[in-house]
Symmetry: D2
Subunit: 332 residues, 4 copies
């Protein structure tokens, strides 16, 4: 359940206020240079406490390598990485235990795990788990280092200028959402499969595992629903498959077509808004007004691009490794 | 690659103009009444040639049961089903072989499979493969027969009245896209997992395997990106987890919360438009003007709701079976 | 549950006395020549009614190709194959329904599937299901056609001369068991993984899925338990990894070492012996003496070598495809 | 590749002389009491340095819980466990780097991983990795705590008295092999599936992942090959499926039949014998006489029973969780 990938496989674990979060990466080819300096730049982008509008909780996020690296290179064995949780304030959550926070997983976790869930700061449901994913993404990027993967915020609170959107949040003392766009270039033709292993299926699977994602669209996306076919179709203009337009977003029939891969992700406003809210107190069985304690992001979308890139890299690295086998042409 | 599901598993096969399409369904519990009459109503909804705006190719789509049913009941063994292709006109495709159709998989299939692909009518990439999925969906619906699953067209060519939207296509002699909404009621609380096996991840994975889907959004979807947190959060109002609003679309932390499951899918206009188009002739290496032969839908979205329901049922039946194990509570 | 393989995947279905048995093969590379003439020689070896001591039930076993082949070549899409059951006599089994046959799955199938199982001739548990495996094996052999795979009977009823062993069965009017040995040559170094994907793990997994297999051993096998380390170790004598002896059976640390792969399989005597037996009549709840009706093998081991070869080829073809990805060396 | 299980899933990682070994256990139900005291008894049984004939390398093997436990109970989230490697002497291995040790994975690992493998003490191939498996096994045993699982040595160096067998090793100054038998009682009827998910397939898969295992047999095993059918068949004598004899070893058609589960495993003599051996020096390309440095077991079979129990528990716990779903009976 906490595993993704067929050949390049990531297993995540950990809790927001437990001892650590981490990841085991299996199926990584041998011989890649992997150390702390490879991982830190992406980890830094994910961190709170740096950008305006992100949580003041600031973790060091130093990756502790536990296996799979020898003399600075991957060995082909699983790479176990963990990150200690140091800057935790669990008491914030214990006092609020009786009121499941709206928008969060508190209520469903309690029902599903029979009250045994670690409820502190969302426990295993926390976006802090994405730390391991970002680290895995940095390693995955090495496998497909001939490609560029770039995700960026294209809208915050309805504003194309992120600063303006964030200012709305600050003014309203409320959390806001946003939209991320991701572009991948230099992909080979032929990654993915028709139907269940389509590039869209695999990417959407991975992207919807990011907390707060509410929508995913490829190429022209939802606006395609309002176009004519003659308008939407991308004319192929050369033997490399270059197309005149790119409404397809770089994918046909589930398979990369060599053009730029384009997709967008909708991120809802953080559930932990500073505003007063209502929810059920399940001890007293009454609806109460309360406000959320703890340190939180006004806009989680600001920290999301590097997570989007990481999951994209994980999916594409896996497809890239899978594709090696079909490169072997059979003649008989 | 042509397999989906963990416990309730579907394996699809076939080609548009080959001998047949079909599905093997593994992991279906024993004792369900399954026969032709169970499957025909959904198969009928998927068919072309009935609704205005759909392809004149009309297949009988009689399910041929090859295994897994005994005395009218499922046995617990795999159910093999196939559907003969009778109404094929392969010659339409052979003549067009040199020009990969824009929006279709012709170009990428040729590159990926080295020219060995069955190119007739899209071959294995054809939406005709969804026949098996619809049949599997009808069986999956039996497993979760306490739930209602209803998908319907909410927009065609930008019009909320599907007839008006289709008229646009007829007037323009061009294909058009649309938006499907799916609602599921009476789901138990607790299906799905945080992260990779979130309900959103699994549904999006399945839904993006439907040809022509360009976007998937849950609950408030892309519009969530423009809301404040205090506005988006759904206040819990009773011990069953009922929420005042349903921006979450029935899912928190990847897990069903007992409220209505809501999602929408964007369908692009059919790539096979009657309009003249340009594409590369890879024999002559020149860009040519051509128009697509064959019998096609003006709006594939019209036939999509039953396919959306089928994949939804397949995902939810699987999650439902998976959840049985966690119902066993441990005390020690 | 009826699926095996990671990249080269086989899905089996069918029942002994239902309409058909078959297999869907997914992940087969495009461009292989596959037709009836490829499959018939191995299917012929599996058949009853030809060799002395095998069942008089004689099926034609003509493979019906339903998908995945175009112009005589694999397309990269799933290959669906069916075999019709023609020569069935279900009435033999209905009369015996109340007495679960010792050694067979009748009792457990009834408990597990709540009475819904197809009980005729063992239903889905029948060795007739291996028809699809043998067909898949013939295709798998094409992927690794640089290797030779040869399984043969090395012992029947304790006799190294199979004829002498079979004569024992005929004389005793009782079924007998046997031992099969399989040798694979020209394997590359490096297939398999340490631990769970060791060549031994994967082969044993596949081989124990053959009905009647009671033991699997590699290289020196059980006799290794009585050897000294200095005696058992295989000295490496050249840079290709050639070893002086081959007690390891061609595998070290779960990985092929380039020497001959050697393993043996113990096959129990057919449960359907002509002798009178005792078992419970679950209608009357009394232990009864009865004898088994139907047409059966005196020694199933005689038909097993081609099945052993098929599963071996399926495992090795999958590992061979998997290994292509690690052949890509990374330098950075 | 380093993952086993469908619902109860274990992911192992680590190296013999790296920083640590460990395991992530996913899919463990919430609410089980799990702490150090649960794990230590089995870990103690696996340790070297205690029993005569086992390696003098003595690790503390204290499990470090990193996630998945809260207030002493499992939470339903992945359980990450680490064991530090403290008592390492890597220099023993560096000096011997040029001579791949016979019987070990040195040669194949070097070929497969292109020289990037951690070669110290077998690296990732080391039996030290079974520490994590033993810990996972102790947790798995809790899930099936109504069953008893007992593995014991039944033969060392051909002697049924283990002390006598070990004395042979001491006298010969050579390593020796042995046979382990495992018995499981109180299993429910109905675990496992026909064919690929047979109990034999899954157990053999798991058991052959233990380093040094050369053979696995169930019930009468290899001796079944020399029996008549009338002799081998186990007559069912009551409605619970109790059989008069148990040649089947508790499994019919791949499914547990409610009788005692019985199987045996052949363990080869440790490859690291104190005796002088020959192997290729791949630097000089000459065959050299050498003896193995480092601290080693004279008989690894002595430490194997608890590992066999652990893998058995892991397989059975997974099957037990899977079976919960089929317990749900459908009537329509």
């Amino acid at each position: 359940m906490n595993t993704f990938g067929r050949l390049f496989r990531v297993h995540i674990f950990g809790e927001s206020h437990g001892e650590s979060v981490g990841v085991v990466i299996d199926g990584c080819p041998a011989g890649l240079s992997v150390d702390e300096t490879l991982l830190l730049p992406d980890l830094e982008r994910r961190k709170g406490g740096i950008q305006k509008g992100t949580t003041p909780r600031k973790e060091e996020d130093v990756p502790l390598f536990k296996s799979g690296i020898f003399n600075g290179k991957t060995t082909g064995a699983p790479i176990a990485l963990f990150f200690e949780n140091k800057n935790t304030r669990s008491e914030d959550y214990t006092t609020q235990r009786n009121i499941p926070r709206p928008g969060h997983a508190d209520f469903v976790a309690n029902k599903k795990f029979g009250g045994y869930e670690d409820y502190r700061g969302g426990g295993h449901f926390s976006a802090r788990l994405t730390t391991g994913l970002v680290a895995a993404g940095s390693i995955a990027k090495k496998i497909i280092n001939h490609c560029s993967i770039e995700a960026h915020v294209i809208e915050i609170a309805g504003e194309s200028d992120p600063d303006k959107g964030l200012q709305k949040a600050i003014d309203a003392k409320d959390s806001v959402g946003g939209i991320i766009e991701c572009l991948v270039n230099n992909l080979p033709i032929g990654l993915g499969e028709p139907f269940f292993d389509s590039v869209e299926s695999l990417l959407a699977h991975a992207l919807f595992s990011i907390p707060a994602v509410k929508g995913v669209e490829f190429g022209s996306g939802f606006s395609a629903a309002r176009m004519f076919g003659s308008e939407h179709n991308d004319a192929i203009v050369d033997a490399n498959g270059t197309t005149k337009s790119n409404h397809a977003g770089g994918i046909n029939g589930g398979i990369t077509n060599g053009n730029e891969l384009v997709f967008r992700i909708a991120i809802k406003p953080a559930s932990s808004t500073p505003k007063q809210q209502e929810s059920l107190n399940w001890e007293t069985n009454t609806v109460e007004t309360f406000s959320i304690k703890g340190r939180h992001d006004l806009c989680v979308a600001l920290r999301a691009p590097v997570i989007v890139e990481a999951l994209t890299a994980i999916v594409l690295a896996d497809l890239f490794l899978l594709e090696q086998q079909t490169q072997h042409r059979y003649t008989d």
